[in-house]
């Protein structure tokens, strides 16, 4: 009966009306993303300097990419940055979620506090990071020196600068991993654990053979979404290191920005954009292939 009802609503009424609901949004997105991307594709075939598009050069911008050491450096920086960030975010978020997965009031309050970094402007986070990692007498270096170590060259050393940017990024996204993974853990019924405890007393075994397989899809979602967000990271590097020292923290996103907006080389920047797009498309295809069914 219920099925029949649903069918009537879905197929019977409003055959034409139903498009009124989705069309405005779809046209908006068509206009505001597909159209600029096509425009961008056009630009990427042109040589451009100082904000002007000179002449048609075909695929030369794309060929140039492969000989550009800055591009390869940016790609390397991106892979390291995303890899390190996502690993730490997921591991920390998982540990927190596993330990705090109980119905205590304090946990609920903590969960609320913990959403604040997630909703803080990344640009502000970058400046907060700048204050905290400040090399001369910043709070962290003060503590480090008080403990008898020499101060850490947070922003002047290429490796440490990367660490600093990654820490701020991790700081923003650990709450996300924690909240989502904890929601995942809470969706596992208690009986599953109870019956598992009859077979083994090892918490590690329970985690490995029971918890992990059950929350694997959620873990996958967290990993993909954190990867994409870290990949898009721009504001933190802008405020904390400005891509430096040198080009040590210049990610692909950052390099595209500097090429397009600072050097005003729109053609080359557009070519870079399409490399970015290809990478993100691969990641998002992975995500949507796995989750197609929930969107039905």
């Amino acid at each position: 009966m219920l099925e029949k009802n649903k069918r009537r609503v879905h197929y019977g009424l409003g055959q034409r009306e139903k498009y009124i609901f989705v069309l405005p949004g779809m046209i908006w997105i068509l206009f505001f993303t597909v159209f600029p991307l096509i425009y961008s594709l056009g630009i990427s075939f042109y040589a451009g300097r100082f904000g002007k598009l000179d002449r048609f050069i075909g695929l030369q911008n794309y060929v140039k990419l492969f000989q550009d050491y800055r591009f390869w450096s940016a790609l390397r920086v991106t892979v390291i940055f995303v890899g390190v960030s996502v690993t730490v975010i997921v591991v920390l978020g998982m540990i927190l979620a596993l330990i705090l997965n109980r119905k205590m009031k304090s946990v609920r309050i903590f969960r609320m506090l913990f959403t604040m970094p997630l909703f803080t402007a990344p640009i502000a986070l970058g400046y907060l990071g700048l204050m905290i990692f400040y090399e001369e007498h910043g709070p962290i270096n003060s503590i480090v020196q008080a403990l008898g170590f020499s101060k850490i060259p947070w922003l002047s050393n290429p490796v440490w600068a990367m660490v600093a940017v990654a820490i701020v990024n991790i700081w923003q996204w650990v709450p996300f991993a924690f909240i989502v993974l904890m929601a995942g853990l809470q969706s596992v019924p208690e009986e599953v654990y109870e019956s598992a405890r009859l077979d083994t007393s090892s918490a590690l075994d329970i985690f490995r053979y029971i918890t992990l397989p059950l929350i694997a899809p959620i873990l996958f979602t967290v990993i993909i979404l954190c990867t994409v967000e870290s990949f898009k990271m721009f504001d933190i590097a802008f405020s904390l290191t400005d891509g430096g020292p040198g080009i040590a923290t210049q990610t692909l996103t950052y390099y595209t920005y500097t090429t397009g907006m600072r050097n005003q080389n729109f053609g080359y920047a557009s070519a870079l954009s399409f490399i970015l797009l290809a990478i993100v498309l691969t990641i998002s295809t992975l995500f949507f292939r796995r989750y197609r069914d929930i969107y039905d």
Binding site: N5, V9, G14, K18, Y19, I20, F21, V22, P24, G25, M26, W28, I29, F32, T33, L37, S40, I43, I99, L100, M104, M112, L113, F114, T115, M116, P117, L118, F119, T120, A121, I123, A124, Y127, L128, M131, Y134, W171, I179, V180, A183, G184, S187, P217, I218, T221, F234, D235, F238, T256, Y257, G260, M261, S270, F274, L277, I283, Y291, R292, Y295
Partner: protein, 284 residues
């Protein structure tokens, strides 16, 4: 005390220690900014936390900011408000319509699945990839440095949140009421407007807050598209570098102004954060 009880208390203790450590980790930068904003420049770099005991607090920074840069900051906050609210309204209206459509109908021509993915893919798109063409387009349309340009862009990039949250909320609402109204001769749009929308109001507010926060925090587009009249607060923060180095005691006052609105609003949307941010892959 029996062994089991003892274990329980050790467990509790351990959890509390962890909560405290994690809270310090989550809140320390905010605390540091608040403390620094009340410090004199000479104290700014000292590892001092407790006012009156470790340093003499001062309102000078807030006062100087208000006197010297008050109008600029006020304009930044106003711009941020106009841009975020405008973007939220657009994202919410288009997103709610789409969310309703996707939860109530089957679209055979394109399939619901593909359409949802079409909406969500905005969140995967790197903003920098469309920033450059938009810069050129807006330049030609004389829309650079206008609030309208940023309203359009932020509406586009926050719409996925609205679509996915509203879709999942409409799915949870019972359809019987709407069917009854349809039988009585109401049109689909009337049903949506009169019945479904009021029932979905809490979700609508939550989706609005999430869209607002992300639009408020947006920086890259604002940096590229504005230079004078439409500059929002995020870009004003970024313009604080000084020839004498970054003056943290002033910067922290600005940071706090920018951070507070979304951070406080976020506390009210706990129930919807998970489904909003995971694209509905999880309810939470």
């Amino acid at each position: 005390m029996t062994g089991k009880k003892c274990e329980f208390y050790i467990g509790r203790f351990f959890i509390w220690v962890l909560i405290v450590i994690a809270s310090v980790w989550a809140l320390f930068p905010f605390l540091w900014a608040i403390i620094t904003s009340f410090k004199k420049p000479i104290d700014a770099f000292r590892l001092a936390f407790v006012p009156f005991l470790q340093f003499t607090p001062t309102l000078d920074n807030w006062r100087m900011e208000y006197i010297n840069r008050g109008p600029e900051i006020l304009r930044g906050v106003t711009n941020s408000l106009i841009i975020s609210i405008g973007a939220t309204l657009i994202a919410l209206s288009l997103g709610t319509l789409a969310g309703y459509g996707l939860s109530r109908f089957r679209y055979h021509r394109w399939s619901n699945r593909n359409m949802t993915i079409w909406f969500l893919s905005q969140r995967f798109l790197p903003p920098v990839a469309v920033a450059i063409p938009f810069f050129l387009i807006f330049k030609n349309l004389h829309l650079l440095d206008t609030q309208l340009a940023l309203i359009f862009l932020n509406a586009t990039f926050t719409m996925p949140f609205a679509v996915v949250i509203m879709r999942s909320i409409f799915k949870e609402l019972p359809e019987e009421l709407e069917e009854a109204a349809l039988v009585d001769g109401a049109s689909r749009l009337q049903v949506f407007y009169r019945i479904a929308l009021p029932l979905a109001a809490p979700g609508l507010v939550a989706a609005g807050i999430i869209c607002f926060s992300f639009a408020w925090n947006e920086f890259l587009f604002a940096l590229i598209m504005t230079y004078k009249n439409a500059v929002p607060i995020t870009v004003i923060i970024a313009g604080t570098e000084h020839t004498q180095g970054v003056q943290f005691w002033y910067v922290s006052t600005r940071l706090l102004l920018a951070i507070l609105p979304p951070a406080i609003l976020s506390l009210t949307v706990q129930r919807y954060i998970v489904r909003g941010l995971t694209f509905g892959a999880l309810k939470g």
